[in-house]
């Protein structure tokens, strides 16, 4: 249960009137009845990560480890209702999130006396992504794919290579457009109304904040379990983790991959059927070539029915990497008490339906093919560069053309 921090919402003068005493009396009764006020929203420790790391070759108690790590991270990044930035470790130079935005998104929902709306994350995102950004919001179990766990710091739809962080624009695009065919909504309506126009920008900062915090938490759990580093606030090794994670986020925009200029045939529809079928032939040969292996997953017809099936990284994290077989319920259910959801195979996209999760513009599809989709089996395609074998830009655009024209337009 959430209670307001009275700092934001000072009781206003109008409240001090004759009904005041009545209010209090009734409040007390209601509280006694509902048992309110005895729980505060807090970050959930990353039990699942601790459990998968300690599962083999460690006799540490996972919940205890997760709790200690969470407490340490709280010293650096603050509590759920009062976030902070560890500038004592980072100094002034590393900027990765705007804290005024983070502050506005954190905490319980509502306007303060200043009429500024707060708790925007809890208002719009918490039912799926959870208070801690662990993807374990109330509705999580009922959705497929599951809501993103931000704490791994892995994002699917971005303009940076595998292993690099998404840019602000990438996350903004996801929030603005939503993800078709999944539960991830489009928040376009916010940006289009003037009083909520800043919400998406602020939420982007908060997602970055939760991702940084969550990844630091994961990494210090790993250091503790694997290398026995004590979970101590002064430990230089742990502080270095904070620097490394933040550094990755603040440098993300320089890792952005530029999409080469697209050829004429991508923009203007080709009326000549001969020319069209020639392009489709070329695209098909790239699609079916051994080099790209697209058919392995997406199937010869592109219906997403290839032979290769696999889990995503969020699942492998606590299954395969922890020596658990995700296919066997008796196996993976062992992790259920730590917050594991049933492992579900990641489905390769069916191109006949033209439902692109990362955006349907040619340049977005180009990015997905060239960069892969991080966290999923979808690999980056080999690009012909510096004498390496792979597809040239022209061939890549032919592939994009082919994929886009697999859509049934009937």
């Amino acid at each position: 249960m959430i209670r307001s921090d009275l700092g934001n919402r000072q009781l206003l003068p109008a409240y001090h009137n004759s009904v005041g005493w009545l209010v209090m009396l009734f409040a007390l009764c209601t509280c006694a009845f509902t048992g309110c006020g005895n729980s505060k929203a807090t970050y959930k420790p990353n039990d699942l990560h601790a459990a998968s790391l300690t599962r083999e070759g460690s006799d540490l108690e996972p919940r205890g480890v997760a709790k200690a790590a969470s407490a340490l991270v709280e010293q650096w990044f603050g509590s759920l209702d009062a976030p902070r930035w560890p500038s004592e470790i980072l100094g002034g130079e590393l900027e990765a999130v705007r804290m005024d935005s983070v502050n506005r998104c954190a905490g319980p929902v509502g306007r303060g006396v200043d009429k500024v709306e707060r708790g925007v994350y809890r208002k719009h995102c918490v039912s799926c992504h959870g208070l801690s950004g662990d993807g374990l919001g109330a509705a999580a179990m009922l959705l497929e794919p599951y809501p993103r766990d931000f704490r791994r710091g892995t994002f699917k739809f971005k303009s940076t290579p595998i292993g690099k962080k998404p840019t602000r624009e990438d996350i903004h695009r996801t929030l603005y457009e939503g993800i078709p065919g999944t539960a991830m909504p489009s928040f376009r309506a916010l940006e289009e109304s003037k009083e909520f126009a800043d919400d998406i920008d602020d939420l982007v900062e908060y997602v970055r904040f939760l991702a940084i915090r969550g990844e630091v938490e994961r990494r210090i759990i790993a250091l503790h379990v694997r290398e026995g580093v004590a979970l101590d606030e002064t430990s230089e090794q742990l502080r270095e983790v904070v620097r490394q994670v933040v550094e990755k986020w603040s440098s993300a925009s320089s890792d952005q991959v530029t999409v080469p200029e697209s050829p004429e045939f991508i923009h203007s529809p080709i009326k000549n059927p001969q020319e069209h079928s020639e392009l489709m032939q070329k695209g098909k040969s790239h699609f079916e070539s051994e080099l790209t292996a697209c058919v392995k997953c997406h199937g010869t017809s592109g219906a997403g029915d290839g032979t290769s099936q696999d889990y995503d990284e969020w699942t492998k994290d606590w299954t395969i990497l922890a020596g658990i077989d995700p296919k066997h319920p008796s196996d993976w259910k062992e992790m259920k008490p730590f917050g594991a959801l049933k492992p579900v195979l990641t489905k390769p996209r069916n191109f006949h339906w033209g439902a692109y999760h990362g955006g349907k513009s040619p340049s977005e599809i180009f990015k997905r093919i060239v960069l892969g989709i991080e966290g999923t089996p979808m690999p980056p395609v080999a690009r012909a560069q510096n004498g390496n074998p792979g597809l040239t830009d022209q061939e890549l655009w032919e592939l994009v053309y082919y994929v886009m024209h697999l859509e049934d337009r009937s």
């Binding site: 209670r3 206003l12 309110c36 306007r111 009922l142 909520f196 489905k347 033209g354």
Partner: protein, 335 residues
Amino acid sequence: MISDVKFNFVKLWAWLAAMFIFPLIWVGGLVTTHDAGMAVPDWPGTYGYNLFLYPLSTWLYGPFDLLIEHGHRLLGSWVGLLVIFLCIAAWKSETRTWYRRACLGLLGAVIAQGLLGGFRVVLDERTIAMIHGCGGPLVFGYASFLAFASSRDWKHANASIHSKGLWRLAWILLAATITQLVLGAQLRHALPGTSPVGFMSMVHLHLTFAGIVTLVILGVYFLVRTYPYASEPGLRAPANALVGLLILQLTLGIGTWMVNYALPWSETMPSLARYVISAKGYWESMLVTAHQATGSLLIAFSTWLICRVGRRQIALARKPDSRNIQVQPSAAVKL
């Protein structure tokens, strides 16, 4: 019995109160849909102003969440006023003592609802919001009962057959619709830290009760159409209305899931694969809110059915030639 003055003010105010509680529930539902419960951080005032003196331009043209929250409070006070009028009218012209008392009871219920709403804000407590959200439809059901009890059918109901089965079914329906509403409120007011397992169980329960309500309404519908009830025209209207509402409600329920969480079969149909949820879209939030508002209509209509069946039971019990027919004891109290 209902007074025979030319113009029945009790009836007027009772109907007006019920008719205004419905939009009140609707706006209250919007407040929940938009999570606008704390859009005004103080209570009973609004940003330090008296509720009624809060400058029009600030909320009418202000942010949407402030508009609906403040509007909900204003509408609530308006309903309170209507119920006060109802009490005055009942005291002047209503001859049934229990009805007069029931009017006071309604006033008490409306005030309690107002206080609950207030505490939800003062304490910023989501659990109270949930209780307040359940209370609204109950008050609506209560007010509709008073409206039905002031109607012509209440007074002139006549019956020739004994309707014990229907009577039971009507009460089961009321219990089921109320349970269903409370379950729905658990979903709409899920606390931010609710566990996925808890939420999923609630969803499953909500679906189960949707099935139960459907079966009971269909049961009522077929019962009033078969012998011997078929000879009672007064029972058809509530039964038909319930079926209509049921169809509407099931559709709205599926729609609500779709605009909140998308349908689970996105792999089976291109239109679902391409569907993007539009968060806080105008029509989307109207649809979700309509689902909860229709839930409270179902409660009111079950009450209507109970009134109609009950009055016929009583009329029958009072017929001199029907003393040998057994009547539910609870209905036999002198009304």
